[in-house]
Amino acid sequence: MSQTYYLLRHREVPEIGQIAVYRAHGGYEALRKALSQYQPEELVDLVKRSGLRGRGGAGFPTGVKWGFLPKDGRPRYLVVNSDEAEPGTFKDRELIEHNPHQLIEGMIISSYAIRANEAYIYCRGEFLKGYEELSRAVQEAYQAGFLGENILDSGFSLDIFVYRGAGAYICGEESALLESLEGRRGNPRLKPPFPAVAGLYGMPTIVNNVETIANVPPIVTYGAEWYTSMGTEKSPGLKIMSVSGPVNRPGNYEIPLATPLRQLIEDYAGGLKEGRRLKCIIPGGSSVPLLTPDKLDTPLDYESILQAGSMLGSGGCIVLDESVCIVKASHRLVKFYREESCGKCTPCREGTYWMADVLERLEMGLGTQDDLAILTDVADNINGKCFCPLGDASIGFLVSAINHFRDEFEAHVREGRCPLGAKVYDTANY
């Protein structure tokens, strides 16, 4: 399907990661425009008017967040969250591996807007290529005069530091990310104070997702009205959706918000592979409840998806077909959260462990009728009682799976085996 790309622009251009190629395709022109035509406050206002919302998952309005910074003269920091580890989500990875300069350009503009002179990229530990690309691109930007002292004679100076995490999903949570960035164990911090008030090294800090920052240069180039012309009033603009599962063309797709889910699956991703029948869809990464096929016409914007019973989240759209055992899928996801729970708070640490074990037993055909009730109750004891959102994320899919596919869970107990013949692999080695 052909379309004009903005965030994924130049994805067909080889070597776009080289600064010369990037500039030949109009790169760093938005930066020039921002520095020469805007005061920092005007840029904050521009982003506010564009209605851009955080693309990391929570969807908080970016301009509003920027406005929270206290004006007390303390140094400010911009931290870009590139710890993309949500199963089913791989949009930031493409952005930093393929076109790192657009992120750097967005960071410079954003730092200028919030008056930060130091910016950090927290790169997921497993993204070795992305880390190397970013490090290289940052060096190129320094050599080209886009970083360092007095950028483009604007009087604005900025240093960017690229930091590679050590492999923890929880460090995608902004306060755990800051802890890790400061060299400590990646556990989430108590809020308030929020990072905008006391973030990195106790200073006012803005933490934004890679995709969020990548949106800034196009907004500067084309204006807030262009941005709000797409999507809905509350969910304007563009979003990258990562589609995975048994579809013909899995991958990243840039869509105007409010594009129907059906269009994403059938047109963009080419529909399900031959012979496969849709079972359900996880629309926003592994942390959100599933949607059944009857919700296929839901527009992909924050409000509509919420109304349909799920969340847009990070835009990691996982397609599950009829061959997938829902119990096994639940087990696989809960196991992920068990492994990634930081261990700080009791319900998440112990609850994910408990649920994963029960689900494993169910999948092996060793479950009892009580197990379903226990699972539901354990999930309820986690729900809303954890320190950070990871605990709630661990039960999103499971609870919706039990609600929608209770028969399948019960069939596992009744038949003493998985009706779909799925196996818990690697049980001996988890």
Binding site: C342, G343, P347, E350, G384, K385
Partner: protein
């Protein structure tokens, strides 16, 4: 102030108060594991869930600040289910080995489960297995399976103590508390994590598998090993003290202890504990010894009157025991030669004595001579807590012959020569208030020169002396002239607060003073001189060990040799056993009821948890017997009360000292190494088998890296120290903190008889270097 309602009760609290603390004020119990007021909120355990109206989810009471008009419910179906859920989670991987757990019966996991938990668990899967009885150090064990990961221990060591020796390793359900790189935790405050642990995860190794809560005597007591006088719980079992825990006192202390106090309780059961009477150097039946002593007393009193007898009070005795001895001496013997055993010459008048509340309220603290980390460890923690309070900045300075700064407590130190502290303080006082009559009187003999000290530092100190609203001086008493400077300072600062905390011992010296003894060093010296000069026929040491403690060993030897009768009561045989005609075994702390007065002049009650061992008897038993021998009536007054009606648990207030004594500028040593002494809790001569290795390691002199280098000593060696008074051989180690040109020797260690020499310049020579592995 914020008004809110908790369980239907209205309360007004300060802004920023957490719901948990507001509820506690109303007497409403909200269960917590991770929260501790001294450590601040964490929000990890989720045990304190409460319902706040208009909030969509349950809130954690320990992390949610109060808000105007807030309505909180600490019970109700939602809260009850939330708590049940959390407890069920905590128990799924808990080994439930309560029957063999030291904490069984005094465990918050048991208590809360009983009160709030589910009657039955539903978890059928295998539990995670972790390390059991693993070491944190030689004194502390960890059972990682029982741990609820509340992080109190980790945060205490990291944030509160500033010695981050514990950490969390692994993640999720595999998370464990362990030590940094598996190295044993060496901090002297590490033992507090045992008290902080709400479950049976952190255990005292000496108490491991020793007792159950229902077969122990656990009594409120006071630690007597240093002048801080930490409040404790002492556990006795089968006639032996087996455990000491910290005891928090609301609004006064958190119940911290140092490991010296926590694990050093076994001196009372040490092999060298005196449990038999000794007569002329041999063990003798108690009755016979007491009878013999009675005859000597009768003889002396009959022939020359009571004034031929002097009593030196010391050791770890209670105020009541001292008062019994005072009454016996004055009423039965008829002597007024009643003094206190001292190891340093300084003295603090009651009128200057401050409290820990003064310390908390202080805006400036000056450490004179003393390093609280070594001399009064929990005071170091108090200073650190005070310094960390960002809302009220604290100026912390030091005047001492060595740098007092530590990584955990930065102190701007004016490094003086030995014996120069008073002069340097006087110089700063001269600059701050030279015109004040008290200061003029102090300086009338020409003191206040501060030779060799950076004038900007003196000015900085003078600014503190002038401007601090609430000044607290912590002093080790080594340099006696400091007393006069402090008196003048308090006079000159009329209108501002000036308070002093003495860190010298014996730990209950102020209690002995309250009981009627003269605690001034000069009084003790006069008694010893009179003994040497033949004016005293009998010298009685009640807990005192003068050869070990008194700074001039020669004078003590002369006195011992000259007196006709030399008697001692004590927990150990005093040094120079050959001099003593009789030694009788006394009771130790934890074996008698009584009060101790700490460095705040605060009375604190201790109840016994065991009886004295062997023939050891409480003071009154001996006194009653001897009074009988003298044929005089003597009834021990059990009703004597050291408390004063007006001053609560503090000793009666006294006015500031008025008479200011002039001090002289000291003769400063030229070059050479200066001998410097200091009281240290880890090297105070009181033995312990539990702490044997640590005590041995602390009983060593220290030199600076520069001097060590010059002597050719890398880490540890033996040196020969020579002065006009004599020669000593001392084991020595390098101390990074020590200023070049100083040799630091701990006081009161038998193996380091520094009282053979005088403080001042000594000649130092290397004897050998000891290779350390």
């Amino acid at each position: 102030m914020i008004r809110l309602t908790i369980d239907g009760q209205e309360i007004e609290v300060r802004e920023g108060t957490m719901i948990a603390d507001a509820a506690a004020r109303l007497g409403i119990d909200i269960p917590v594991y991770c929260y501790h007021e001294a450590l601040g909120p964490l929000g990890a355990c989720r045990m304190c869930l409460v319902q706040v109206e208009k909030m969509p989810k349950l809130a954690t009471a320990c992390t949610t600040a109060v808000a105007e008009g807030m309505v909180v419910h600490t019970t109700g179906p939602q809260v009850d289910k939330g708590r049940k859920g959390v407890l069920e989670f905590l128990l799924i991987n808990h080994p439930l080995d309560c029957p063999v757990c030291d904490k069984g019966g005094e465990c918050f996991l048991q208590d809360y489960t009983f009160r709030y938990g589910p009657p039955q668990g539903r978890f059928q899967e295998p539990k995670i297995q972790k390390v059991k009885d693993g070491p944190i150090s030689d004194l502390i064990l960890i059972d990682q399976e029982r741990c609820v990961l509340c992080q109190r221990c980790v945060r205490f060591m990291d944030e509160y103590v500033g010695e981050p020796e514990l950490l969390l390793e692994g993640r999720g359900v595999e998370t464990v508390v362990t030590t940094v790189e598996g190295r044993p935790a060496q901090s002297q405050f590490a033992g507090n994590v045992i008290d902080l642990c709400p479950v049976g995860a952190l255990l005292a190794a000496p108490y491991h598998h020793k007792a159950r809560p229902w077969n122990i005597e656990r009594e409120e007591s006071v630690c007597t090993l240093c002048p801080v006088g930490c409040t404790t719980l002492t556990t006795g079992r089968d006639g032996r003290i087996v455990r000491v825990e910290g005891r928090p006192v609301v609004d006064r202390n958190w119940g911290w202890l140092c490991d010296r106090g926590r694990f050093g309780f076994d001196f009372a059961t040490h092999p060298s504990r005196l449990v038999n009477s000794r007569l002329h150097g041999r063990e003798e039946a108690a009755a016979r010894t007491t009878r013999e002593i009675g005859q000597w007393l009768r003889e002396v009193v009959a022939q020359e009157g009571g004034e031929a007898i002097a009593v030196v009070m010391g050791g770890l005795h209670t105020t009541e025991e001292a008062h019994q001895v005072y009454r016996f001496a004055t009423e039965v013997l008829g002597t007024r030669r009643l003094v206190v055993s001292r190891d340093v010459p300084g003295y603090v008048p009651r009128g200057l004595n401050g409290t820990f509340e003064d310390l908390s309220a202080a805006d400036a603290v000056i450490l004179v001579g003393t390093d609280p980390y070594e001399s009064a460890p929990v005071l170091h923690l108090r200073l650190r807590e005070r310094l960390k309070n960002r809302r009220a900045p604290l100026t912390l300075m030091g005047v001492a012959p060595r740098n007092l700064s530590r990584s955990t407590l930065p102190v701007e130190t004016l490094v003086t020569h030995v014996g120069q502290e008073a002069d340097v303080l006087a110089a700063a006082l001269k600059e701050a208030a030279g015109d004040h009559p008290a200061v003029a009187a102090l300086l009338s003999q020409g003191a206040g020169i501060a030779r060799g000290i950076d004038p900007t530092q003196v000015s900085q100190l003078s600014r503190v002396l002038r401007e601090a609203e609430r000044l607290v001086v912590v002093w080790d008493g080594v340099e006696p002239d400091v007393e006069h400077v402090l008196a003048a300072l308090a006079q000159a600062r009329q209108g501002q607060t000036t308070r002093v905390l003495p860190t010298f011992g014996p730990s209950n010296w102020r209690g002995f003073e309250r009981a009627g003894f003269d605690a001034r060093f000069d009084a003790l010296t006069r008694v010893l001189e009179d003994a040497r000069d033949g004016k005293i026929r009998m010298l009685i040491l009640w807990g005192a060990d003068l050869l070990k403690d008194y700074p001039d060993r020669r004078l003590v030897e002369q006195a011992y040799e000259r007196v006709e009768w030399l008697l001692a009561e004590g927990v150990f045989v005093p040094e120079g056993a050959e001099h003593f005609d009789a030694v009788v075994p006394g009771a130790a702390p934890g074996e008698v009821y009584g009060t101790y007065v700490n460095m705040e002049a605060r009375l604190q009650i201790a109840s016994p948890s065991v009886n004295p061992p062997g023939q050891a008897r409480p003071t009154k038993s001996y006194l009653t017997a001897w009074a009988h021998a003298l044929g005089k009536p003597f009834v021990v007054d059990e009703e004597w009360d050291p408390y004063d009606d007006a001053s609560g648990d503090l000793l009666p207030e006294e006015p500031l000292p008025q008479d200011i004594e002039a001090i002289r500028a000291p003769d400063l040593p030229e070059g050479g190494v200066e001998l410097l002494v200091s009281a240290q809790v880890w090297a105070n001569g009181i033995p312990s088998q539990i702490l044997e290795a640590r005590l041995e390691a602390a009983q060593i002199a220290r030199i600076s890296p520069l001097d060590a280098d010059a002597l050719g000593i890398r880490e540890v060696g033996v040196i020969r120290v020579e002065s006009a008074e004599g020669v000593l051989e001392l084991p020595v180690r390098v101390d990074e903190h020590l200023t070049p040109g100083r040799l630091l020797v701990p006081l009161g260690v038998g193996a380091l008889p520094v009282n053979r020499l005088r403080p001042g310049v000594v000649k130092v020579q290397r004897l050998e270097e000891v290779q350390t592995p």
